[in-house]
Symmetry: C3
């Protein structure tokens, strides 16, 4: 479906922007900005592909992904302030991307015959580990280990998707439901400052 | 052999506990605790599988491994203090797990036709790189680069195993001998504060 | 061609030395020195092989690479001061190695049918990510994200190689031209303190 592919590409672009801006904040040079943009955008899906053995990894066979990431660089350079002002809408879009990446990663893992539990895990990895690798390369403790609850939003979205698949054959509907769930949980989490402390 | 599989699973569980406790110490949240537990437990074997091309990586095909790791979370939550008191026995068990992981990693690598030298290296990676990845994700310098000599204990154990394989057809005996060697070296190392400085 | 293989091995050896010396500077122990030497020398090519699906990764099938890396340890131990005095010539050689690694990585990627753009990227990864992994394991921000412009030198060298391949069938000539380009750019960059800031 073309709309899904368009959202996928735009999500990749938004992820790349967040990577490039992290590099700017760290005062990295052009190489650092390119690497962080790339890694944030495709790091999660790349790790998933490597772990499940789907190599060469996905983005290598899709030039559009590479173009979408490359576009983040001039866009950040010329419109940095406008992007920072638009942060809220970018954040909204980001969350749609996260939901989509989770479901696509889940489907790809199921597609090669792995169990639903592993598929859910790989869905979450697809959506969140780009940010983890970005943080490790920036010499920071990964954000999702401390505050951001979006890995949990992905978990709930992935489970909702699996349950809907069981009852409904309408793939598009199931996808939209899962994305909506991720979206709502994340918005609520940010609004109400939800956290998941683990203090035994 | 069922005993080997049982030790393997229990070793995985102990490794996961050490990862979860590292996350607690770092004040990570639930997501951080899950990721660190998982990565510490299966990170070394996962890296080995990816490098030698045995994908999807091992734990994806064995739900018991996933259950053993998941069990570490409630156990740490409810029995944290008891675990810290039992630290010495946990440490003992940990060392048996390390020896076993080394030999299993070595055998898997030999099994796909790679050389004994590479097999020894992959055995050590299986046993030690879970901890390395845990430390990198926690933004720490890996412990085994500074103090812990257990990579060296694995090296000696792996070589003992290879030599015994050459002379004896009794796989169980060879395995037990290798595990014992790793165990004795590590106990001695901790007791006598052995170190392997490299100051040219 | 034997000369190419000899330069490849010697480049690997020089990279391993730089890794071992980084471990010495960080006061790592013997295990840390071995791991950093190894990772600096083959980390880039290993990452490339994993991403493009050429596993078991290259160095596992070539004992000479393992010997070249192992040799770095005693050499650093006994001749540390002499190496530091020779730093300038080592630096020169290092740069030849970087150019060669770029082209070899590019060729390997083209060889499995991936696009020239991906091949250029994998060439650069082959030459530079050993250092990135070394820095991550040492808990440092990767050097190439801040100062060193050698990723850019690799980029230009890789493009020159591709263009020459289009016009000339003389593989050796094309290789030498690409290596020369990387060499000249890097020397000029160091001499004139070139940088590639990215400050939107």
């Amino acid at each position: 479906m073309n709309l899904i592919y368009a959202i996928d590409l735009f999500g990749t672009f938004v992820f790349a922007i967040s990577g490039v801006l992290a590099a700017v904040e760290k005062k990295f040079d052009l190489v650092g900005a390119i690497v962080l943009g790339f890694v944030t955008a495709v790091g999660g899906g790349t790790l998933r592909d490597v772990l499940i053995g789907e190599t060469p990894v996905g983005w290598m066979k899709d030039m559009n992904t590479i173009y979408a990431i490359s576009a983040a660089l001039p866009v950040c350079y010329f419109f940095k302030n406008r992007i920072l002002n638009l942060r809220k809408s970018v954040f909204l879009f980001d969350t749609i991307g996260i939901g989509l990446f989770t479901v696509l990663g889940l489907q790809k893992t199921l597609g090669i015959g792995l169990s639903p539990v592993v598929a859910v895990m790989m869905g979450i990895v697809s959506a969140t580990f780009g940010g983890v690798i970005r943080d490790v390369l920036s010499n920071e403790v990964p954000l999702i280990f401390r505050k951001e609850i979006y890995a949990s939003a992905c978990l709930v979205g992935a489970i909702v998707f699996l349950i809907m698949e069981y009852f409904s054959a309408n793939k598009d509907l199931n996808l939209i439901a899962a994305i909506l769930v991720v979206f709502i949980i994340r918005i609520l989490a940010v609004r109400r400052d939800w956290a998941l402390p683990f203090n035994p």
